[in-house]
């Protein structure tokens, strides 16, 4: 997440108009969701990927790695959609028999799976285009333009800030546990994970107390003025 955030603030399109970037992503998302044309989906995926890699100057390997995470889930989901089970072989394009049951691919599931697969690719690439080229401060501009409630925008901004503090704090504790051989074997790892969870919980509670004091010193009146 931190690497995506870093790219969002330092890519070739960072200084481009956030409203134009938002409108571009929004339009493509609409097209990908409304039209059931796989070729169009593939063109969207390819186009946004080219923009992110060439214009956004995001390293191809980083981009590919980012795709691998949801990609593995996507392939597993598509496989479950693709494969059908039946006692009758006649509808299958390809099939195999196990204990009298036929496992295989039927024409309708093939076209449906392909459509879902390409749509997912298109929407994923749009999501990465948004995450990698529009930093959070520009997201705020877009959300304000969309007239989203200020409470929602404040919440998003605060969540973003505190997620980063949480991640930093998590890695500090995690590294401390590694250095103390906390993950040397399965039993120790189990204990360390529970310790880590307790530590994070205590830190959050302690942090809440400190933040409350600081908010008071800054004359907080319930409004974050985002």
């Amino acid at each position: 997440m931190l690497s995506m955030d870093r790219h969002a603030y330092s890519n070739g399109l960072t200084d481009a108009n956030p409203l134009k970037k938002g409108a571009f992503a929004g339009t493509l998302l609409g097209i990908a969701l409304v039209f059931d044309i796989s070729t169009l989906h593939l063109l969207i995926a390819l186009g946004t990927s080219i923009i992110v890699i060439i214009m956004g100057k995001v390293d191809f390997r980083v981009y590919l790695k980012l795709f691998m995470i949801p990609g593995s889930f996507l392939i597993l989901s598509i496989l479950t959609l693709l494969v059908s089970i039946s006692t009758d072989q006649k509808n299958f394009l390809i099939s195999g028999e196990i204990f009298g049951f036929y496992f295989g691919v039927v024409k309708t599931s093939l076209s449906l799976s392909w459509l879902i697969f390409t749509r997912c690719l298109a929407t994923l690439s749009i999501a990465y285009f948004t995450a990698l080229t529009i930093p959070v401060n520009q997201m705020v501009v877009i959300m304000k333009k969309l007239r989203l409630p200020s409470v929602l925008i404040e919440l998003i901004v605060l969540m973003y800030r505190f997620i980063n503090i949480f991640i930093k704090s998590f890695y500090e504790s995690y590294n401390a546990l590694i250095l103390k051989n906390g993950f040397a074997d399965l039993r120790k790892s189990r204990k360390s994970i529970s310790l880590l969870a307790a530590m994070m919980f205590n830190k959050i509670l302690g942090g809440y107390k400190d933040w409350r004091v600081v908010l008071e010193t800054k004359n907080f009146n319930g409004d974050f003025h985002v």
């Binding site: 959070v136 503090i165 010193t217 800054k218 009146n221």
Partner: protein
């Protein structure tokens, strides 16, 4: 401007943090509060800020006791700001500019004044070039300066610093020293709590030494730091310039360069003397 009279504070768990403490912050422009961990420094700051309400005693601002009424505190905190030790616990925004502007906006200050004050604070803390950078990409020292800029933008009369030099590299520490010197020259009062004796000796002009919630020693830094026995009793030690002063019988300098200048003058004089007398190593 601000005084603490007979202040006592006991936490809910029964631990006594402050015992009948009396401090007059009119004694200097940059005042140091030193003491070992648990001496009561942070509790004192929270009491001064009106976050904690003392059990007994009073906090006087411009000779009147502070009130704990919401409106009073709102105005009071426009005059007195605080910079806490951990910057991550006082920066709420992911954007430097918005975080510095936060307290100003809470005080209903018009946006054009907010902008001017934030830009001035950014310039004074040498942060102009990172104003658009997300806070979590900043170094610890830069985050510390963001939190200082937040207090400076409020244009407070008094700024409290809790451990301002903790966790900083020498160059960042030097930047903080410069910021404190600038605040002093602008006529602001600065109150610093720290364990860094060299830092305190360098920037302050009056010191209070706390032990177990009481004020046990006070005065000019050069005098207070000469009392080595008392400092040791309080779990503290002398700044290195004072140690050199006591052990090598040189004057008590406040700055390192003053000592080097003194030494070079001594060496020059002794060379001149040797030149007149001839070589001291004659056969």
């Amino acid at each position: 401007m601000i005084k603490v009279k007979g202040l006592s504070y006991v936490y809910k768990d029964g631990s006594v943090a402050l015992k009948n403490m009396t401090l007059d912050f009119n004694n200097g422009n940059v005042i140091g509060i030193i003491g070992e961990n648990g001496a009561g420094k942070s509790t004192l700051f929270l009491n001064i800020m009106g976050i904690l309400k003392p059990g007994t005693g009073e906090i006087l601002y411009k000779d009147s006791q502070i009130s704990y009424d919401r409106n009073y505190l709102k105005n009071y905190r426009k005059k007195i700001g605080i910079v806490f030790q951990d910057p991550d616990k006082q920066i709420f925004f992911s954007n430097v500019y918005d975080d510095i502007a936060f307290a100003l906006r809470n005080s209903d200050i018009p946006e054009d004044i907010v902008k001017n004050r934030v830009l001035d604070a950014l310039e004074d803390t040498d942060l102009l070039e990172v104003q658009k950078k997300p806070v979590h990409f900043l170094s610890y020292g830069q985050k510390k300066r963001v939190s200082i800029a937040g207090a400076m933008a409020m244009d407070c009369e008094i700024i409290l610093f809790d451990e301002p030099s903790a966790g900083l590299d020498p160059s960042m520490r030097e930047k903080i020293i410069n910021i404190i010197h600038n605040l002093k020259s602008e006529g602001k009062k600065v109150i610093i709590s720290s364990h860094d004796m060299d830092f305190i000796y360098k920037v302050t002009d009056y010191i209070y030494v706390l032990k177990d919630g009481s004020n046990v020693l006070e005065g000019d830094p050069s005098e207070v730091f000469l009392n080595d026995d008392k400092l040791k009793e309080c779990g503290l030690e002398q700044p290195w310039l004072i140690k050199i002063h006591q052990n090598m019988k040189v004057p008590a300098f406040k700055e390192e360069y003053e000592l080097y200048k003194y030494w070079s003058e001594i060496n020059e004089n002794s060379n001149n003397w040797n030149g007149l007398q001839g070589s001291p190593h004659r056969d």
